[in-house]
Symmetry: C2
Subunit: 307 residues, 2 copies
């Protein structure tokens, strides 16, 4: 096999109470990429469709992660990468992570899997760090492992796969405005009140417990963010209205996806997720702001081969 | 039944990464109390053995929690309380929680259980707040529910019971010096670095996951405290030596029990817990400081009737 086509999924990081450490994987939102083994040494990006991104491998997230893996090996051949970008950069649903993961996953498959998922995560993090200015795994992790993950630590890298109820769905609205991850990080305080931090870790502990035990009441009570959302939600038009409408329509929780502007809602069952979608559209369709909206089962598999 | 004798267990709060929210229950360390239904209205403490504590119900933790419950009812009789105190006040293993829980648990049994465990926790918190100056449930919760608990919130009170591996044991050393909870709280900063808070909630999420899945490697990687231990450990003689010796002897983690001075270590299996006990005694027996040391299975039942 010299060529592989893959689907690299979108992901939701932070998940309200899990800033920088929690993330989950989407099912039907993601990029497609083709990775091709070629005689010429090195990494070349040969095609980019969908968005205007750099072709130089060392300036493109997918190229940087690919180079990180390539340079860890001693190969007498190289790879070409084609990127069919569906996730808009700066959307908050893991656009750069999808690119970073796609190249290394595809290369690893073509090489007969010399690396495990944790190692792939480490290579992909090099690519994402180029954009976000720091290494984190809360988008990369769920894209590679699927499901819900807790990126317990970055150094050493430790990704924990958290079980979750089978009928958990997400509704994601992506207002078509761009927020750069690095800018969104700049809004955050460097110090937080100990009492707020205690609330946040109580909620994160509750979320992990609620996911493990499939207890939607506990999940609902845990999906609150007293640290980051108060700052970042100001960047997102109509955030509070959307959140309130989602909860009113039966979502178990709603919050900023990654660094925004996308807003995720978690729901028990597809029907409820569609009702939440309708409630959110009723608000956003009046704003004049263009948007995409998706309903997705939580993707338990993560990135996958398409052919 | 007009009289009941109960065992009110010691408890370990905080558990390294779970400051103010996590706690677990001990098996063979605790107070005994007798609660007696009597014709005379009101709450009277008629006997205290072990330590010098106030007999006035409204100045004694057990009396205050008993009064909180008593005043919520409209009874034409009263209760007497006898306290056989084994847990030294200020030990850091839930001495005041044991007192606060004992009276309300015993009264509830004599009244044929009008209140559930969460309601008992609320009454008991009134007693403990008299000592610690704020309401928290990380000792009360495990004393009443048993096992490991996450006190997810105080208002409304939400206690989550976290499953844990059956072969989990604790070794507890109690140096015979007193640290008042209120003093230990005074040492803490009101603000913490966001990056430290992130580490702490990643660890707490990891601990909850590790306990749920019985994964001792994950539990070990999670039992770190970057927020509180650096401040409070200074109050505890030879803390670092004890911690290092415990880990070296095979403990999965070691940290301050509650606000100290007791130090807990968690271990897989009784044999390992006894080895950790020996390693800690080898250090503490040379210090000239008197100490108690206990090995306990995690007590899954909590407070219990003795007769």
């Amino acid at each position: 096999m010299n060529e592989i086509k893959i689907f690299s999924p979108g992901t939701v990081a932070n998940v309200s109470c899990g800033f920088d450490v929690m993330g989950f994987c989407l099912d039907n939102v993601g990029d497609e990429m083709v990775i091709r083994k070629v005689d010429q040494k090195g990494i070349r990006i040969t095609k980019i469709e969908g968005f205007d991104l750099p072709y130089e491998a060392d300036k493109n997230v997918a190229g940087i992660s690919a180079l990180a893996m390539y340079n860890a090996l001693d190969l007498d051949f190289g790879f070409e990468i084609e990127i069919y970008k569906k996730i808009k950069p700066g959307s908050g649903i893991g656009s750069s992570a999808a690119s970073a993961v796609g190249s290394v996953f595809g290369m690893n498959e073509l090489l007969n899997r010399p690396f495990n998922k944790t190692q792939l995560t480490e290579f992909a993090m090099k690519g994402e760090a180029f954009i976000s200015k720091c290494e984190h795994a809360d988008n990369i992790g769920p894209a590679i492992f699927g499901g819900f993950i807790l990126a317990k630590s970055v150094s050493p890298l430790q990704i924990l796969e958290i079980p979750f109820p089978e009928d958990l769905y997400a509704t994601i609205i992506h207002p078509q405005i761009e927020i750069k991850t690095a800018d969104a990080r700049g809004l955050l305080p460097t110090e937080v009140a100990l009492q707020d931090a205690i609330k946040q870790w109580a909620n994160l502990g509750g979320l992990v417990h609620g996911l493990h035990s499939g207890d939607y009441e506990v999940i609902k009570s845990a999906l609150h963010d007293v640290i980051v959302e108060p700052h970042r939600s100001k960047l997102i038009p109509h955030f509070q209205e959307v959140k309130e409408a989602a909860i009113h329509a039966g979502a178990v929780g709603s919050g900023i996806s990654g660094s925004g502007p996308s807003i995720f809602s978690l729901c028990k069952g597809l029907e409820r997720a569609n009702e939440v979608k309708a409630a959110i559209e009723a608000i956003y369709s009046k704003t004049g702001i263009e948007y995409d909206i998706h309903v997705s089962k939580i993707n338990s598999k993560g990135i996958k081969i398409l052919n």
